[in-house]
Point group: C2
Chain length 449, copies 2
């Protein structure tokens, strides 16, 4: 077996191969010129005397037309040297008339799914079974590209505000939120778990850098399979010290969202267009409503009785609908969560007389187009208050010593939030199942590919 | 319990508290003015009539001097309002004469270690046991700050070269390199493992985005404890399609390193100065030497007999010494690794007659100041060649089907590399043990904090 593919100069036409590679998105700048393209055989048609190949590279599609070409199987990597001609009906408005066609790496089997014909939600399990190749689909690719830009927008904005990136352990000895929903690990014979959240660690790091963020996978061993949950997902985590209260956190998140959407408009408009989705406008001041008022609103306006202590999915949908209709906002902060719906480390709110509320916290959720995409809030920083809260929650302070230790050492007032990258991506793009917003999702029944 | 700390306007002197916060690094711009500082009590001294507080914020240290102050324990968070005065002996050249001193959050215990007196390698296990507070040390903080800038330099450069960031699963059904050194997970009753590397996944994603990178933790269940290994570390992974051979990969890595060091010079010079370390110059063309020649060189020049098939740590040190002395380079690529020292997916080199070498691969290592910081190379993209290699390595093709599947579908020639972020950070900064280059390291015996 030889590898001519990796040494283009061995192929015929060495002179044209010294051309730099042109990306398909740049063809308009080369109208009438000879270019060298590389990519995958997205689609192919042989009409006998003439052959059509739609070449797919990272930037788009180009129709190439030639004669006497021996077309390889779809998804083969190929190189095309040819002349660019304006062609209104071709994707992108140009086609390439082939002078030289070379197979770089031939597919040895036809793909199990026709990549150009894939649609969301067609045989989802089959699509995921063959994800190593179906992930090449234009829509699949667009979703992951949007996610990359979203993450970059998140990170770059925080860096401009003086935040430091951290990397915290995902192998932990206990869960931040108690023992439920943890994946057990055998750590050299000792029991350990996959981290559900960097919660404690990002708080510790406020003592070091004051403002920190992390972009990393977290793990939830939730048994139920829904369209909005993943067992492994990318969490965009923030924690900020020396705050006044949760308003500082919400204001930061508001700015972060503005920055993310600005980056998407600049760098991912084509992907939104392909997916028929719209990049939302983020208000300079996202509306806020206390949770209890939100529950009352959906009952009074829409007749929906909300169960539990939180909002149920239907209430989230209706509340978003209300703010879209009345304020034109795709976003709404639901504030002042009750302690009953928040973990022990949520900072109590102040009563009107300045005393500490025993019922209400400074925790909030952010809803976007009908779904919760963030939980955030101020955390307890005072050691005594934390111990009181642990007692009030009837938790065992000894088992939480790994959490409480750092609060002996002068932690400043702080708060933060976390965004699930896949959930936000899916909601932005109108993808019905969050699994398609992750390259290789893990769910209750899926460990491969 | 109340929380005045989080509402500064409740404190005395509301008018001065409306001052914006000043960071200690910006004091020079406020000489003679009144400023508001926030931070931690790094050090404190009470001389009776006069009190000194060294305040530590994210940007540095400031000596504050006042009288009648009730000093809280070290590490308490405090706010100081005072007048900036030039003071040549004070850290940073300025001190602040305190007008108003407020404890934001009092430490309830003295730190178990005196943070200002900490030194690397003093009782390392104790330092790590108390990491939740020892990580606030100036040197510890500087190391993690350098790592954040290093990672940002890596990422930002790749984005300018058209790379797309990916997020791949860390819960996997099998190891990319066989079954050794894997941490087992109980995944809903099914056996699974923590990923050693995103190797396969980044290769798959070359079929989607052509050029990809990932910054994520990987896991090695290596039993041995050394100063250069971590069981959980941050891997900076790259994979690049449509290459000619491994020279394209090395040239990319060279450019990435140039960009990283440029960013460190721009944004982390103070941290290097604090740690007495020098940011290396990266040659525009890092020297290269084939492995067999490198082994011969260290034997001939230094009399060191190299065991095994690779370089041993002493040989890495000597080879780096040679290139530092002869070419003034802190970096050297060791190329053309034998198959015996590389996994089955390493692309064979070509013999001089163009046939495929059965002995030599297109794999390389990068040495930096005496230690390997990268493995990289071209990977096999041809399905037939891959199956031949699996047979030659006497591996079971059925157990590798999860790996080989994607190579049926026209994968282009590709290659990549991975840098261990902590190892590079430690070597850059002269930190003797890689554990100090991670916020919360995991080793053979350490699962907490």
């Amino acid at each position: 077996m030889t590898t001519p593919a990796s040494t283009p100069s061995q192929a015929s036409g060495a002179s044209v191969h010294s051309l730099p590679r042109t990306l398909t998105r740049d063809l308009a700048a080369h109208d009438g010129q000879t270019v060298r393209l590389q990519g995958f055989v997205h689609a192919r048609r042989d009409l006998g005397g003439v052959q059509f190949v739609v070449l797919r590279d990272v930037s788009g599609l180009t129709q190439c037309v030639g004669s006497g070409l021996h077309l390889p199987l779809a998804e083969s990597s190929v190189e095309v040297v040819g002349t660019v001609k304006a062609h209104p009906k071709a994707p992108g408005g140009f086609e390439v008339q082939v002078k030289d066609f070379r197979v770089i790496s031939a597919a040895v089997e036809a793909p199990p799914v026709e990549i150009p014909k894939m649609e969301w939600n067609v045989n989802p399990e089959t699509m995921l079974d063959y994800r190593v190749v179906t992930v090449r689909g234009l829509k699949e690719r667009a979703a992951l590209r949007v996610q990359a830009e979203l993450v970059a927008g998140f990170r770059d904005h925080l860096i401009t505000e003086g935040f430091t990136e951290i990397s915290t352990p995902k192998i932990v000895s206990a869960g931040a939120e108690g023992g439920a929903n943890l994946f057990p690990i055998d750590y050299f014979g000792h029991p350990a778990f996959l981290a559900q959240s960097p919660q404690l660690y990002k708080q510790i790091m406020v003592g070091v850098f004051e403002r920190v963020f992390e972009v990393a996978a977290v793990y939830r061993a939730e048994e139920h399979a829904t369209s909005r949950h993943l067992n492994e997902y990318l969490s965009l985590d923030v924690e900020m010290g020396f705050i006044t209260d949760e308003e500082d956190v919400m204001a930061l998140q508001n700015r972060v969202l503005v920055a993310i959407m600005a980056r998407l408009k600049e760098r991912a408009q084509a992907e939104f267009t392909l997916l028929g989705a719209t990049i939302p406008e983020v208000p300079a001041h996202i509306p806020r409503i206390p949770l209890l008022d939100a529950r009352a609103l959906v009952t009074e306006k829409y007749g929906h009785q909300v169960g539990g202590k939180d909002l149920d999915p239907e209430a989230e949908r209706l509340l978003s609908q209300h703010y879209a209709e009345t304020e034109g906002s795709d976003f709404v902060f639901v504030t002042k969560y009750p302690r009953a719906a928040r973990p022990f480390y949520a900072h109590p709110d102040a009563n009107p007389d300045g005393t500490q509320s025993s019922e209400i916290t400074r925790g909030y959720d952010l809803l976007f187009r009908g779904i919760e995409i963030t939980s955030g809030g101020q955390r307890i920083h005072d050691y005594g208050m934390l111990m009181d809260s642990i007692a009030a929650y009837k938790l065992n302070p000894t088992s939480l010593e790994g959490y409480t230790e750092v609060f002996k050492y002068g932690m400043p007032p702080h708060g933060g939030f976390a965004i699930g990258a896949e959930r936000l991506t899916a909601k932005l793009l109108g993808i019905s199942n969050v699994r398609y917003a992750r390259a290789f999702p893990r769910d209750r029944h899926r460990l491969t590919p």
